[in-house]
Symmetry: C2
Subunit: 190 residues, 2 copies
């Protein structure tokens, strides 16, 4: 088999003779973005394909303040439902570095553990991005304010009205991943 | 309904007219003890009943050092298998306080999140104990050395030969829980 013959790269099928690894996909890639937290986990689902980026769903899972095991199982159950409903081909999640507070880091870790177990349940590849990478992909600067990122999420997806902060963060991570797949370059979103 | 009539307390059904919350059970309670870690998760399964404490299984799940999502899914899958195989009525896990290092706390949290999601999968109640409570239940002192706890696990369960440190820690948590259920008072183990 020749190297250029219909091989896959990061879930994209390249056309025979393609020279760029960033070729436009021939069909949409569905991305689930997740922003796990011990109290609220944001999620966002987008389809990215040759015709642009299409918003499918977003929202938040509120784990509440009950017993730890019940909260984690709630996150796990709801993320499993999302995976079963939307069957994402790729999952994107924020990478966490050096949290200041060990107690918060433990709580965040537990929520991430629950979300990541459920996210991988359908066999989707999981990708992590730092907050800086997300800001850079969405706004062109790694030091952008949260509001600027949220504004860009709405603008890029053509969303009107109010968008929850957790849902917006999760959509931003999904859009960052589409950008890294070579699908969301500036002007490449619909 | 009268307060003393057949009510449940921590999974034990009290006989009508019982005055003690520490009544001996009429049948065995199966306890799964878990000691999650980002690299190794220990587990131990015991049956505790009117005839004493019976060792069923113990061991460790090695998540290895691959990609985060894969490691967490491995923990989740193996703990789910344990729950499916042994159908524990109760699960006991170590409570974590104030980890010194935020990075380690995040990693430990992720492993705990994966293990707790799987542990609750069969509907078992989940109980947490501090390391001090485990030491106190097993040795009579909250400041006991790890080796002393491991020695007591082997002595109380009548185990010969080598017992891995992670498996021993998980069995110690299971035995601590049986003690708190009123089943593992000194001399109450087999």
């Amino acid at each position: 088999m020749r190297a250029t013959r219909g091989r896959r790269s990061r879930g994209l099928r390249l056309q025979p003779g393609a020279v760029s690894l960033r070729a436009e996909p021939t069909r949409a890639v569905r991305i689930l973005g997740l922003d796990p937290g011990s109290v609220v986990t944001g999620f966002g689902v987008v389809d990215v394909g040759p015709k642009g980026t299409c918003y499918l769903a977003s929202g938040s899972i509120r784990a509440g303040r009950g017993a730890l095991a019940g909260r984690l199982q709630l996150i796990f159950r709801h993320v499993t439902e999302l995976v079963d409903t939307y069957a994402p081909g790729e999952v994107a999640i924020e990478r966490v570095f050096m949290h200041a507070n060990p107690d918060s880091a433990l709580k965040l870790g537990q929520a991430r553990g629950a979300a990541l177990c459920a996210a991988g349940h359908g066999g989707a590849a999981i990708h992590e991005y730092t907050p800086r990478e997300v800001k850079l992909a969405l706004t062109g600067t790694g030091g952008a304010e949260k509001e600027q990122v949220q504004h860009m999420v709405k603008a890029l997806l053509g969303l009107q009205g109010r968008l929850g902060a957790d849902a917006a963060d999760a959509l931003a991570i999904a859009l960052c991943h589409s950008h890294h797949l070579g699908l969301g370059r500036p002007g490449g979103f619909r």
